[in-house]
Symmetry: C2
Subunit: 161 residues, 2 copies
C-alpha cells in the first residue's frame, strides 16, 4: 500500500489520514518541518494545558516498546508520574522542561536525549513562552505509567541551575 507524500493539508487532516492508515508501513506524510503529525489533543487530566499526542507504535505481546510524538503548547506539562519500565525522551523541536524528583529542572531543546530510569517520578512539558515537541519511547514491560500529583507553579517556575 502506497501513499504519495506531497500533500498540502492541515494537521487535523493529517491526523485523520494517519488514523485511517494502519497499514504497512505506517505512513505519516508531512510537508512541514515537523517529522510526525501533531495528533489529537489529550483530554485526560494527567496533563495541564494543551498537549497533543500522535501514537506512533503501540506495544504488543512481542515488543513492549511504545512510541508517541507529543506536542506541548507553551506552559503545558504533564503531572508528576513514573514508568515502571523506564522512558526515553528525544527532543525534536521547541524548548521544553524536564525534572526528576529531587533534582533541578533542566531545559530540553532539539537533539537532547533523556533516559529516565524505571520508577523515578518526573514531569516534562513546554517552556512558558515556547512550545515543545518530543518523541517518547516508553518501556511498558513492567506495567503502565503511574500518575501522581500536579506540578505546582513553584515547581514549574523553578530556576535552572
Amino acid at each position: 500500500m502506497k501513499m504519495k507524500h506531497h500533500f498540502n493539508i492541515s494537521f487535523p487532516m493529517l491526523a485523520i489520514l494517519a488514523a485511517s492508515c494502519a497499514s504497512f508501513p505506517e505512513r505519516h506524510p508531512q510537508n512541514t518541518d515537523l517529522i510526525f503529525p501533531k495528533g489529537e489533543r489529550i483530554t485526560n487530566d494527567n496533563f495541564v494545558g494543551n498537549v497533543y499526542l500522535q501514537q506512533l507504535v503501540s506495544p504488543d505481546s512481542l515488543n513492549n516498546t511504545q512510541v508517541g510524538n507529543v506536542t506541548f503548547e507553551p506552559g503545558a506539562r504533564t503531572k508528576w508520574h513514573y514508568h515502571p519500565g523506564g522512558q526515553i525522551l528525544l527532543a525534536t523541536g521547541g524548548v521544553g522542561y524536564y525534572q526528576e524528583k529531587g533534582r533541578p529542572k533542566v531545559i530540553l531543546r532539539k537533539g537532547d536525549v533523556i533516559k529516565c530510569p524505571p520508577d523515578v517520578p518526573h514531569w516534562h512539558g513546554a517552556s512558558a513562552d515556547t512550545g515543545f515537541v518530543q518523541i517518547a519511547v516508553t518501556n511498558t514491560q513492567n506495567g503502565p505509567t503511574v500518575w501522581l500529583q500536579a506540578v505546582t507553579n513553584e515547581e514549574y517556575s523553578s530556576p535552572v541551575p
Copy 2:
C-alpha cells in the same frame, strides 16, 4: 551541567562533543535541519556503503531499549539481519528502503514508521539516489542483532509494488 546550543560547527566536532558529553541530559546541539548528529562511520562489514551511527541511548540492566540515529548515504544498506527483541524504525529524512524476508521492498520517507517483529529477517538502507536518516529503536531483551547474508543487487534493485 549546561551547554549552549548555538554552535556553528561541523559534524565531526559535534560527534566529539556528544561523545564527551555523557551528562544529564545528553546534549546533541544542532544548528542544522537535522535533529541528531551524524555520528561516526560504521566500519564493520554488516553494512555496505557509507553508513553513520550516532548512539543516542545504550541499553542497561534497567531498560533494554537501544536508540541510535543512523544515516545511510545513497546506495548504502545493511546486510540481512534480525533482532530477537524486535525493532522500530522512525524515518526522519531522505528516501530509504525497507524489506522483510518474503515481502516486497517498501520506500520510506520522513514520518514513516516501521515495526519489525522479533526474529524476522529484514534489511534497510538508502535509495540509490538519495540518502536516508532513521532513528532505530531496538529491543535488546532477547539478545543482540543476528547478522545474515548480504543484500544482493537484485534484491536491492527489486521493484516497489
